[in-house]
Structures are given as C-alpha cells and as structure tokens.
C-alpha cells in the first residue's frame, strides 16, 4: 500500500462509516437474539421500543431449571430436556474433536512424511469428501446404524459412539488436509536429529512434530468442534430422547404458533456462546483455516 492511499483514507471518513454500517449489519441479528433472551414476553410482544426494557434472567432460569442449584420461582414445571441436551452436546462435541484431531494428525503426518500417495490424490479426495452434504448421508447412516451395526441387541443408533463416529468421519478429510499444510513446514532435520538421539517414530511424532503444529491443531479443532456442536440433521435421525443434542431440542420446541420467543432465544444464545468465544479468541486461526483451501490452492 502506497503512502498516498494511507493519506487518502485518513482524510476520508466514508470508509469508517461503511465499516460501521457493516459491523452493525453483521452483529445486529446476534445482538437482537441476546437482547430478546433477556426480555419478558410482555416486552417482546409490546409495541414499545425494542431497546427500552428491564433485562431479566428468567428465560435462562426456565431453560436451565434442572441444572440450577436453586428452584426459580416463576417456573411451575421444570422440563429437564435442555440441561440433559447441553450435557450430551458437550460430551459428543468434545470427544469427536479429540478423536478427529488424533486420528487426523497421524494420517496427515504419514501422508506428508512417507509419501505413499500423491498430494494431488489427497486434496482431490478431500474436496470430494467435503462436497458430500449431510442430507445425502441421512438415509444410509440411518439404515446402517439401526440395522447393521449391532452387537447382540444393542445398535449404534441412539448411542454417543454412533454419532461421534459420524462426526469424526465428516471432519477427518478437512482436518487431514489443513494439517498437511502445517506439517510440510516442519523441518525434516529436526526429526532426523531426534531420531539420531534414539527416538522412535512415535516419540518423534508426539514430542517433536505435535508441538510445532499447534496453530494448525487450533484451527482444526475449532472447525471440528463447530460442526459437531452445531449439527442437526444426523443428530436428529440417530439420537434418542436421552442422547439428544441442543440443536435437536431447539427444533423440537418450535411450533407453528405460540412460540415462547424469550425462552427459545435464551436456548439459542446458550448454543451460540461457545462459537462466539472461539471467534474472539482465535479469529486468526479460523481465517487461516478458511482461506487455506482457496487462496493457497
């Protein structure tokens, strides 16, 4: 960027106005969800201005009633669905992320260092896998998980392991792809030095390679967690009443009329909070992950 353009932008406030407008547009709906979750129904349906209201945590108390240490006064009947769903979502997302990272890093490492397949083949198959829509997996995964993958009378459908297996498979291609680009940059000499000092292949991998590709691992884990945490369609088809995740409970509580917007926005906000935190903590890694495919080719 040359000096003239810097001087030009300094004097031109139009760019800041544009950026401010973009920020308002991007954040507006999210802020609206958060404020609605703090409103009573009177304030939501009332005709008064949508910014003047008495904030309340009642909706959150309703949603979280069974995990709270006290019984909120305004809740007549405590529906335990959400607390359980939150727990299910956490377990499923965390285990899927951990497994995908372990399996994916090992595979990416082997593909880079031992070259038994061309990188072209790998990126081609990664792209191929990326394009498979979850809706396409719906029929076969439902069929196989309910009828084929059974031990005695226990089938994979309805269990944590069943859905975790799907999420790991869905995320692996992307994770392998992104981690490859980080492993390529680890100098081979470092690994050779460790090997000369008597380290075995697994020691080299865990003690030398892993610490050096932390940024890649961060990007990969955020993308994996996000998919497992947000996914609805396959979770809806595979999980039962006890193992259901938050997105499934949200859709189930939506009715044609008479939606309790305050409560449902509180649920939505709770679901949105982890990804929002990740975004602010690790935006750099997320952008790396996003641009890796297209910009670097």
């Amino acid at each position: 960027m040359s000096r003239e353009t810097i001087a030009e932008t300094r004097t031109n406030p139009a760019f800041y106005a544009l950026m401010a407008a973009l920020v308002i547009m991007a954040l507006g709906p999210i802020v609206m969800m958060l404020t609605t979750s703090l409103k009573l129904n009177v304030d939501i349906t009332g005709s008064a201005s949508s910014l003047l209201f008495m904030p309340t945590l009642q909706n959150y108390e309703t949603v979280l009633c069974d995990v709270l240490w006290y019984a909120p006064e305004h809740v007549d009947y405590c529906d335990p669905t959400f607390g359980r769903a939150l727990q299910n979502s956490l377990i499923i997302a965390l285990i899927s992320t951990a497994l995908t990272l372990i399996i994916g890093t090992m595979a990416a490492y082997a593909l880079v260092r031992f070259r038994f397949m061309g990188r072209g083949t790998i990126s081609m198959s990664t792209l191929m896998m990326r394009m498979v829509p979850p809706a396409v997996l719906l029929v076969p995964v439902f069929g196989i998980w309910t009828f084929n993958f059974c031990f005695q009378d226990e089938c994979l459908a309805g269990t944590y392991s069943g859905i975790i297996l799907v999420y790991v498979a869905m995320n692996l291609p992307f994770v392998i792809w992104i981690l490859q680009s980080f492993i390529v940059q680890v100098p081979v000499q470092l690994e050779e030095a460790a090997r000369v000092d008597g380290a075995g292949p697994f020691q080299v991998f865990f003690l030398v390679v892993l610490p050096l590709i932390k940024p890649g691992l961060a990007a990969a884990s955020i993308f994996t967690f996000r998919i497992a945490w947000n996914e609805f369609l396959l979770a809806n088809a595979l999980l039962d009443r006890n193992t259901r995740t938050v997105p499934v409970t949200i859709v189930n509580s939506l009715t044609e009329y008479d939606i309790d917007w305050g409560v449902i926005m509180a649920t939505g906000s709770l679901l949105a909070i982890p990804p929002i935190i990740f975004t602010f903590v690790a935006s750099k890694q997320i952008i790396t992950g996003m641009t890796a495919g297209a910009v670097k080719g």
Binding site: S2, T5, I6, F15, Y16, L18, M19, L22, V23, A26, P29, I30, M32, M33, T45, I103, M106, Y109, A110, L111, F114, G120, M124, R130, M131, V132, P133, A135, V136, L138, V139, P140, F142, I144, L165, A169, M170, L172, P173, G200, N230, F232, P247, I250, V251, L254, W261, I264, M265, G268, A272, P275, T279, S283, I286, I287, M290, T291, A294, G297
Partner: protein
C-alpha cells in the same frame, strides 16, 4: 517395530473410520436407491426395483419444483454474495485501522449454528413482533408477508443466506488481494492507470483463480443448506422453499420412502461431484497460468 510398517499404522485409524462411516454408507446408499424400502424393514427385505426410483422422480412434480427452487436459490445466493463480497473487498483493501476487528466480527455469522441463524431470522421476519414489520409499521408502511408468501419466503431465505455467507467471500477475496504482487500494482499506478483500470485490468484478472474456486466452494455449500430453511419455513408456504436437501430429509422421515430419498441423494451427489471435478481441474490449470501471468506482470 519395523520402520516399513509405521506409515500404515499412522494411516490405519483414518482409513478405517472413513471406510466405515463415509465410503460404506455411500455404497449402501447407491444400493438402496434401487430398492423399494421403508424404514420399518431391514434392507434385505426390501424389493429390488431397478431404476424405478430414478425415473419416477422425474414424473414427480414436487421433485421438479424442489429442483427449480434449489437452482434458483443457489444462483441468486452465489451471484449476489460474489458481487457484494468482492466489491467490499476491493473497496476496503487499504490500510484502515480496525480491519482485523471487522474480519473477526464478520466470521461470527458463519460460526454460530445454522439452527440459530434460522431462529434469529425467523424472529426478525415475524409478522407482528419482528423488527422488519415493526419498523415498516412505525414508518407508516404496510407489513410484508416475509415468510408466508411464496415469493417473499424464498427472498427472505436468500437475504438470510447473504447475511451469513457474504463474509466468507469478503475474507477470501481480501486475502487474495493482499497477496497480489505489489510491483504490478505499483507499475500500473506509475503508468497513470485509473482506479477502475487497475481493478478491471490488473486486480480482477490476477484474483480470478481464487475467485473461481471461492465461487465453486460457495456453490457446493449452497446445495448443502438445510437447517436455516428448516427452521425458517420448513419448505413452505406450499413447496416454495423446499430445497433439495430438505426434500431428501422429508422423503426419508415423513414419506418413509428410503429408496426414493437415496435416488434423490444420488442425483445431488453426482451433480456436486461434477462441480468438484470442474473446480479441481480448473485449479490445476490455473496454477500454471497464474505463475506465467505473475511473472509477466512483475517483468513489465
């Protein structure tokens, strides 16, 4: 442990998982698409009907309608997002303070759950409590049937998708712009090329490979959209927003026609595979060409 075995040991878990939970289901689906199969039967009990599911779909008005809706949705979403996203990137590609913050905020809509995105927009489009109609009424204008009219419902969904995904194109185009060879832009400026000339003759042609890949990635993703639509309209009113992914899921779970749903999935998969092959071939070809183009730009 033998050194020659190591790579296979490292690869084994990934190959196993991908085989069991991705390749096997896809093979299973291809087989299921030739069956008349409902979810209460085991697959072995289903009757083999050959290509009947595939041919029947074309005589089904709802399927053709869904195909039209999907293509319309994908076309408008991708072209509008490309125009807005690339335009904003060209406009804001300069040293402005706060750019990092803007990019961070721009990622938010893509990170939160599609279910939540659908929820928030459904709320904003609400006929009485939604902010759009409230604002229109406050200005003395008539309410708009955002989600209850077939034209407006698809438009509303397209607007929500633009909100969610334009940032993706913006971020990728900005990254592409910032990796352009500086010497070429400098040379053009010294030669007295106007801002428009620089954009049309230097920036856009050099960005083209990234733009095409971005466009194809978005196109592929546009065919995967499901949750946002499910929450906002569930395909209605009528069939006016029933995109393909939603149609597949309803055929399987509501109409209990697993074979038909599998055949529909296969049509979608074949279509997306063609797009992917085009994208991959294009990337390979353009890598070589960009290298030449950059060299030429740097030399003169």
């Amino acid at each position: 442990m033998s050194r020659r075995l190591t790579p296979y040991l490292f690869m084994a878990p990934a190959v196993l998982v991908l085989g069991v939970a991705l390749l096997y289901p896809i093979g299973y689906m291809i087989y299921a698409s030739f069956l008349d199969w409902n979810p209460s039967q085991r697959i072995g009990q289903a009757e083999f009907v050959g290509l009947r599911n595939y041919t029947w779909l074309w005589s089904d008005g709802a399927f053709r309608e869904s195909l039209a809706v999907t293509l319309k949705f994908a076309f408008f979403v991708v072209s509008l997002e490309m125009i807005i996203g690339v335009g904003l990137a060209l406009l804001l590609d300069r040293n402005i303070r706060g750019m990092t913050a803007l990019r961070t905020i721009f990622i938010l809509p893509m990170m939160i759950a599609p279910i939540v995105v659908g929820l928030v927009w459904r709320y904003m489009y609400h006929p009485t409590v939604g902010i759009f109609n409230k604002t229109l009424n406050a200005l003395g204008l008539e309410s708009v049937p955002w989600l209850s009219d077939s034209f407006w419902a698809l438009t509303s969904i397209i607007i929500a998708d633009i909100w969610q995904w334009t940032p993706f194109i913006f971020i990728l185009s900005l990254a592409a712009l910032q990796s352009l060879p500086r010497s070429a832009l400098e040379a053009a400026r010294i030669d007295g090329a106007s801002g428009w000339d620089q954009i049309w003759h230097i920036k856009l042609p050099l960005m083209m490979p990234v733009l095409i890949v971005t466009c194809l990635l978005r196109l592929i993703d546009a065919f995967k959209v499901l949750e946002v639509v499910l929450v906002m309209t569930n395909g209605g009113p009528g069939l006016s927003t029933e995109i393909m992914a939603l149609r597949i899921s309803r055929t399987a779970s509501e109409f209990r026609e697993l074979g038909v749903a599998a055949a529909m999935s296969n049509y979608l998969l074949i279509f997306l595979m063609v797009l992917t092959v085009i994208m991959f071939t294009y990337t390979k070809l353009s890598e070589a060409r960009t290298a030449r183009l950059r060299q030429a730009a740097e030399e003169g």
